[in-house]
Symmetry: C2
Subunit: 229 residues, 2 copies
C-alpha cells in the first residue's frame, strides 16, 4: 500500500456488516486499523471471526480491547440472566446494549487520534437493522460533530469523518456488495448466541436477518447452524 494512503480505524465485530465495511474501506484505498471489543458479550466467539476477517481483508493491524460494559449489564447480550428472544421483537429489543456504539465510536476516536487517522468506519445499518437507536444516520452524524469538537485533531488538524457506508442498504444489498469485494462470509458470525464452534442458533433476530438477506440476494448462505438447536 502506498505511503500516502489515508488511514482509517474500522470497527469490526466478526459479523457480516462490519466485514463488508472493512472490505469496502480497503477497496476505497484506506489503510485500515481494525478494532474489536471484548465487552462481556456472550457471543465472544465472534472475536475469533474478527481476527480471521481482519487478516483475510488485509487490515494493517487488528486490536481487541477489553471494555467493562458486561459489568454494567442491562442487555441480553451481556447479561446471562436475560434470554435471547427467539421471536421477532417489537421496538428496541432486549439485545440492545446501552450506548454501545457511542462507547465503541469513542474508543475508535481515541485510537484514530493517536494514529493520526482521520477516518472511522462503522458497519451500522438502519434498514434491516434490529431496531437499535445507535444504528441510525442522525446518530452517526451527531457523533461526527462530537468527534470534531472534542479532540485536538478536530480543533487543530484535519478533523474526523465517520463513515457508515452500509447505513441505508438492505441486508441483501450488503451481501451482494461483500461478495463482489471478496468477503468470505463463511468466516463471519452474526448469531447472538452461537455455540462454542461459532455455529448460529438460526432463531435470534440476527440469524433471521442474515438468512433473509442471503435469500433475497439469491445466493447460498455459507452460515453454519447448529442442527441440534
Amino acid at each position: 500500500m502506498a505511503a500516502d494512503c489515508p488511514e482509517a480505524v474500522v470497527l469490526i465485530s466478526g459479523g457480516l456488516d462490519s466485514a463488508t465495511t472493512l472490505a469496502l474501506a480497503r477497496e476505497q484505498g484506506f489503510d485500515c486499523y481494525a478494532l474489536s471489543f471484548d465487552y462481556g458479550q456472550r457471543h465472544a466467539v465472534e472475536l475469533d471471526a474478527a481476527r480471521i476477517i481482519a487478516a483475510q481483508l488485509g487490515a494493517r493491524q487488528h486490536r481487541v480491547l477489553s471494555l467493562p460494559m458486561g459489568q454494567l449489564g442491562g442487555s441480553a447480550l451481556t447479561d446471562r440472566d436475560i434470554e435471547i428472544p427467539c421471536t421477532p421483537s417489537q421496538g428496541i429489543p432486549v439485545t440492545y446494549v446501552p450506548a454501545r456504539n457511542t462507547v465503541f465510536l469513542a474508543m475508535a476516536l481515541s485510537w484514530a487520534e493517536v494514529l493520526h487517522a482521520n477516518h472511522i468506519f462503522i458497519g451500522a445499518n438502519a434498514v434491516d437493522y434490529s431496531g437499535y437507536p445507535d444504528c441510525r444516520p442522525q446518530f452517526i452524524q451527531a457523533f461526527e460533530g462530537v468527534a470534531n469538537l472534542g479532540t485536538r485533531e478536530g480543533i487543530e488538524g484535519k478533523g474526523f469523518e465517520i463513515h457508515a457506508p452500509l447505513i441505508n442498504m438492505t441486508k441483501a444489498e450488503i451481501i451482494k456488495l461483500g461478495l463482489r469485494l471478496g468477503v468470505d462470509y463463511s468466516q463471519t458470525i452474526s448469531c447472538y448466541a452461537p455455540d462454542e464452534r461459532g455455529r448460529g442458533c438460526s432463531q435470534c433476530d440476527s440469524c433471521r436477518l442474515r438468512a433473509t438477506g442471503f435469500a433475497e440476494a439469491g445466493v447460498s448462505d455459507p452460515t453454519c447452524y447448529n442442527p441440534a438447536r
Copy 2:
C-alpha cells in the same frame, strides 16, 4: 434520601473540580452514582482519593471501571515515555488524552441508561482549564445530542441531560463553592504526577492552576506537596 430523588451518574476523578461537582449534585437533590476510571493514568493514586470523596459526599455507589486507553498511548498522562511538562504549555498540552471525555461520557451514558438515571454530571471547566478541547461547552452540548439520539432512553424515555455546572467558573469560584458545600479539599489530588502518597509536584499545569485558584479565593491550600521535588 427520598425515593423520588432524580438519579445521576457523576464522573469523579479524585480531583478538585469533580469533587465539587459531586457536592453540587448532592446539594441539588440528586441521588448520585459516582464513576471513576482506571485508564492507565500515571496518577492512579487519584482513584484512592475518588473513593474517599465518594464516601464523604454521600454517593449511593462508586464504581471504578478499567479502560484500555493506556494501551493506545498518545498522552503524557498514560505514556511514561512522555514527560509531564513543568512549564506552562501553549495550545493543547501533551497531557491531553485523546478523546478522553468522549470515552468517559460514553461509559457514564451506558451506566446511566442501565440505572434509568437521566442525568450525568461532569466537572469539565473551560475557564481555568488546561486547553483541552473536550472541556468546552460546545463539546458538552454536542455530546448531549449524541446521548439522546443513540440510546433507548433518548428515543423512548425522558432522555439525558449532561450537566457541566463548573464549565464557566474560575478555579477560585469553584473552590469557594466547594468550601461552602463542605468539600474536604485536603482529600483531593490534582497533580498529574503525584508521588506514591498522593503529594503534588507543585510544578505541572494542574498543580499550578490549583495553587493559583486557592490564592485567588483567598483561602489556605490544604494540598500536600512533596518538598523534595
